[in-house]
């Protein structure tokens, strides 16, 4: 689940047509934004399931670092009105080793979440409307990391501009769900492969809060792009978090029956 917002499905057949995407002369900015987002979503369809290791490096203003390590398994739900399912298993720090987190993403409702606490040997359902707080103390909120379903946002195209060596479309995305920590996000999609390159997050008072940069994109199964390095800087507190992904695997045979509350206490 933690990386599905990266999914930038590239179906080579579509890729060819995408270069000649019908850009209507008189589309409104919101239609154009929705088109681009749809393309981003479409290119990640069909990955089935994936798993990856993730290292989170938290850094405070002093440069003091702290590391978390976890493994994420994601199962794609083909129905676009149903969010993906994901399982996160913590391995570091050792105090939370074996803690497993199961999430069924929803579109506009809060996600269903369960946490297995090995020390308590119990599964607890987390019932909270508002999960915009930091994920394990990092600068990523659960909101940033959870499945970025297409219908969670309203889109507006702002402009096209250069982003590094690439050309990007810049979209303004406003959360369509309640209790977001943000008023808006500005997202840069490269026009070549429709991958997110950069996101600016704006807080409740409309001030720039964080910037996320995606680097080290690699393609899997000749289709699916995944960034292996994501760097979030909090402009207000000066704190930073880097996510480093490794050991990506796709279509490992993960089934819906593996991702249930009952199975949660048995995952390793």
């Amino acid at each position: 689940m933690l990386n599905t917002h990266l999914r930038t499905l590239i179906l080579s057949s579509i890729a060819v047509t995408s270069l000649s995407l019908p850009v209507l002369a008189n589309t409104s900015p919101s239609e154009k934004g929705a088109e681009i987002a749809k393309e981003w979503d479409a290119r990640d369809k069909g990955f089935g399931d994936s798993s990856a290791n993730l290292e989170m490096v938290l850094e405070n203003r002093h440069g003091e670092k702290s590391t978390r390590v976890l493994r994420i398994k994601t199962l794609e739900m083909p129905d676009s009105n149903v969010g993906d399912k994901s399982l996160t298993i913590f391995s570091k720090p050792r105090d939370i080793k074996g803690t497993a987190f199961l999430s069924f993403a929803q579109i506009l409702e809060p996600d269903d979440q369960w946490l297995y606490l090995p020390a308590l040997k119990r599964v607890k359902k987390i019932s909270s409307k508002n999960k915009s707080g930091p994920f394990v103390g990092s600068e990523f909120s659960y909101e940033d990391l959870s499945a970025q379903e297409l219908k969670k946002y309203n889109y507006k195209w702002l402009n096209d501009e250069a982003c590094g060596e690439l050309q990007c479309s810049v979209l303004e995305q406003t959360p369509a769900y309640e209790n977001s920590g943000y008023t808006k996000m500005i997202v840069w999609y490269d026009t070549a492969e429709y991958r997110q390159q950069k996101i600016d997050y704006y807080d409740r008072k409309g001030a720039l809060l964080k910037t996320l940069k995606f680097t080290e994109y690699r393609q899997y199964l000749s289709k699916f792009w995944r960034a292996h390095n994501m760097y979030m800087v909090n402009h207000q507190t000066g704190k930073k978090t880097r996510l480093v992904y490794s050991d990506y695997a796709f279509q490992t045979g993960l089934k819906g029956s593996d991702l249930t509350k009952r199975k949660l206490s048995k995952v390793r």
Binding site: H62, I96, L115, G181
Partner: protein
């Protein structure tokens, strides 16, 4: 040698008169050019400015804030005058204000009774939600449940909600760019606007605003208020004093121009040096106005005296410059040394004040010998005949002192020693809320908040665990809990915020909300996993990062205090550290820090740093006295009238007020430079009478009274009034400094008149000075 100086001064005076037009224009243009730097001046709005970069308390606090979140905050305190605040209506208002508080510029966190993240167990679900939702539709039983939860929650009771449910607070944490007055202002003004709007909508609700951001914002407000009120009063006093004493319109105008030019020069200099104005440095104009007139008065008095004796105006100017060149330079020099010694202070605003005042005094000296004679040479001057009654009065004082010298010596010595010994009754106290008087809303609101709910004096501890993730270790948590319990039992402690309360609540919620599970997890992994679960449930801005560091190896303990004295605060910080030393593992030992702790140490720390500064100033000033008077013996005798007044003033202060803070460290050095002027004048006359006229000590004392007594009375009165004006400052450090300096100056004159002469008659019995090779006519007049 003196003739040489006299000749140089005379030639200089001729030059000034010759080039008078040029000099008048050049000095005015020069002063305005330097003064234009004043447009670079701005007010600082950060309470941290009172602490140098090396200040250990500041550094301790900064590193604590680097580990967790910043502590700059704005606190709204709400109290309806119709009783309970825990009602549908007022909870709704609180909720709306909570939501709106996220709009305050630079806000990163808002805590209130409504958005408190309450945990409730329902079967195997952990429900984390706002304590108050849809306030207007709450039933009475729901409200009662909310009250019970809030009053049983250590994080809320006595901090966010008062025990009698009549007062509640909304805490807004800010992440402000450092020392950015515009940013700070925008946040505080936004909050003030919110408060005003609510108050307009609900006149029966009292809304107070306190916190560290309003504190910082109160400094520039106090500075501006002072500059707007005190400087005009000072001008008024100067004009009245000058007209009364000089009885010359031209002289008054000339003196006013010199004082204004001096002030402009000093402020312009400060602007070019990048000084940011603080309440202490905002005193500089008033101080410079006060001191700058002394030079002019001495030059003008001599000049009028010569004119009355029949000389032309230009001749009188030349003669006045000749005899005043040296003493005016000497008194300015000693005053500059006194102010420059403030650079030893650990509080940068006083370094600025010292340098600005020193530049102002130097400028006053320069303009007194450049602009003043040139200007007076241009404008018409009329001299009125002055009655000599005051001189006769001075003669009588002189005779009285000579006649009663033994009695005076004994009684003055007893008084001086007695008063000085009362210094021990002074208690050092720096409570930053009390720094401001009731004309500053921050003071009124902070008092209101403290009386009805909770104060803003806090002591904070960052308590380390043994290793990464160590905050979950049962031994750590148990010790932390014992520490919290111990702290809560200490006098003056209103509230303690501890991580252990969060874990106890989670433990309870993880066990079906059973009260018996309100205890600390006894397993490290269990505690860590509880925290993980809790963190996954929290909304934006209400995370645990303000209480736990990123490595989960340390947690923050925040102790809120009532209106305790600085001494009690230091004592609590010390006892806390001692408690940790003797009861907890070594890694848990921590030092208490916080804004209040920084101010609690500021006076001690500045007294230490100013001891050296005062000693250096004392040595330099005494050295220049000995050189100027050309007598080691008289120079040494002068130490007594120069040292005793400050000691006596402190003793008097101890009896009258008892408490003093930061101001105390500055008074000795600054007053030394000022009070020495009176003894310079008195002694130079005395020495002159002894040397030139072969007078006995008794005759010389009478001569001093006759020639210089009245001038000293007037200059002392002006200085006294000038600093007494400062005692009206809205900022307590300034008013203390002003009043204590005024008292010292007044005592100094009494000592110069009643103790110094008997001392001279006792210790300087040598028959005559005429054999002295230095017995040349003195320039000091």
């Amino acid at each position: 040698m003196a003739d040489f100086f006299g000749n140089v001064a005379e030639r200089y005076a001729h030059w000034v008169i010759r080039w008078r037009w040029l000099l008048v224009f050049a000095t005015v243009i020069g002063a305005v050019a330097i003064g234009s730097g004043a447009q670079n001046l701005s007010f600082t709005s950060d309470y941290r400015v009172f602490f140098s970069k090396e200040n250990p308390q500041l550094n301790a606090y900064e590193s604590l804030q680097d580990i967790y979140t910043k502590t700059d905050n704005i606190v709204f305190v709400l109290k309806p005058n119709d009783g309970l605040v825990m009602t549908q209506k007022w909870l709704d208002v609180t909720q709306k204000l909570t939501v709106e508080s996220w709009q305050i510029p630079y806000s990163i966190r808002v805590d209130s009774v409504t958005n408190f993240q309450n945990t409730v167990a329902e079967e195997d679900d952990l429900i984390v939600a706002d304590l108050v939702e849809n306030a207007l539709s709450l039933s009475e039983s729901q409200i009662n449940r909310i009250i019970a939860t809030a009053q049983n929650e250590p994080a809320l009771a006595d901090r966010i909600i008062s025990p009698d449910n009549t007062t509640t607070a909304i805490q807004v944490t800010l992440q402000l760019p450092p020392d950015d007055m515009i940013a700070l202002n925008s946040a505080v003004e936004y909050a003030e606007k919110m408060a005003a709007e609510i108050q307009a909508e609900h006149p029966e609700l009292r809304v107070a605003i306190t916190g560290l951001a309003p504190l910082s914002n109160a400094f520039p407000r106090a500075s501006m208020l002072d500059m707007q009120t005190l400087t005009p009063i000072m001008f008024g006093i100067i004009i009245v004093a000058l007209i009364g004493f000089l009885r010359s319109f031209s002289g008054t105008i000339a003196t006013l121009i010199v004082t204004i030019l001096s002030t402009i020069t000093a402020m312009g200099f400060a602007g070019y040096m990048g000084v940011k104005l603080t309440p202490p440095s905002a005193m500089a104009p008033t101080i410079i106005l006060t001191i700058a007139i002394a030079d002019c008065v001495h030059i003008l008095v001599s000049m009028f005296h010569e004119m009355r004796a029949g000389r032309t105006k230009h001749q009188a100017i030349i003669e006045s410059i000749r005899i005043n060149m040296q003493p005016v330079f000497l008194t300015s020099f000693t005053t500059i040394i006194g102010f420059m010694s403030l650079n030893f202070s650990d509080a940068p605003p006083f370094n600025d004040l010292g340098n600005m005042a020193a530049v102002g005094v130097a400028a006053a000296w320069l303009y007194s010998i450049l602009f003043l004679p040139a200007f007076i040479a241009i404008i018409p001057v009329r001299v009125k005949q002055v009655k000599t009654d005051k001189i006769e009065a001075m003669d009588r004082i002189g005779n009285f002192v000579v006649a009663n010298r033994t009695k005076l010596l004994v009684s003055m010595s007893v008084i001086a020693i007695g008063m000085s010994s009362l210094i021990s009754t002074i208690e050092l106290d720096d409570r930053f809320v009390e720094y401001f008087d009731d004309s500053i809303p921050f003071r009124v609101d902070s008092d209101f908040a403290r009386e009805n709910l909770s104060g803003i004096y806090q002591v904070e501890f960052s308590i380390n665990g043994e290793d990464s993730g160590g905050i979950s270790e049962p031994v750590y948590l148990q010790n932390l809990d014992k520490f919290a319990i111990w702290l809560r039992a200490q006098p003056g402690v209103v509230h303690v915020n501890s991580l252990t309360d969060v874990l106890k609540r989670l433990s309870k919620s993880m066990h079906g909300d059973a009260e018996k599970w309100y205890l600390l997890p006894d397993d490290r992994e269990l505690a860590a996993q509880y925290l993980l679960l809790y963190e996954l449930s929290l909304p934006y801005g209400l995370d645990l990062n303000s209480q736990i560091n990123v490595d989960k190896s340390a947690s923050r303990m925040t102790v809120t205090l009532d209106n305790v004295t600085s001494g009690e605060m230091r004592s609590l910080a010390d006892r806390s550290q001692q408690w940790l030393l003797s009861n907890a593992p070594a890694h848990m030992v921590a030092e208490g820090s916080g804004a209040a702790v920084m101010f609690a140490h500021i006076a001690h720390r500045n007294i230490q740093s100013m001891l050296i500064g005062t000693l250096v100033a004392f040595l330099l000033i005494s050295g220049s006295m000995i050189i100027a008077l050309r007598s080691v013996r008289i120079g040494l005798i002068s130490l007594i009238p120069n040292l005793v007044p400050a000691a006596m003033a402190f003793g008097l202060w101890g009896v009258l007020y008892g408490q003093i803070g930061l101001a105390s460290s500055m008074v000795a050095a600054t007053t030394l430079g000022l009070i020495v002027d009176a003894s310079v004048h008195f002694l130079s006359k005395y020495v002159r009478a002894r040397r030139e006229r072969g007078a006995t000590a008794e005759e010389a004392v009478r001569y001093s009274f006759r020639t210089v007594g009245k001038a000293l009375l007037v200059t002392t009165a002006v200085l006294f009034l000038g600093f007494a004006v400062l005692s009206q400052s809205a900022f307590q450090v300034n008013s203390d400094l002003g009043l204590l300096t005024a008292i010292t100056i007044a005592i100094a004159l009494v000592v110069d008149f009643l103790l110094l002469p008997p001392l001279l008659m006792l210790l300087d019995r040598k028959k005559s000075y005429t054999s002295s090779p230095l017995a040349a006519p003195q320039a000091a007049e």
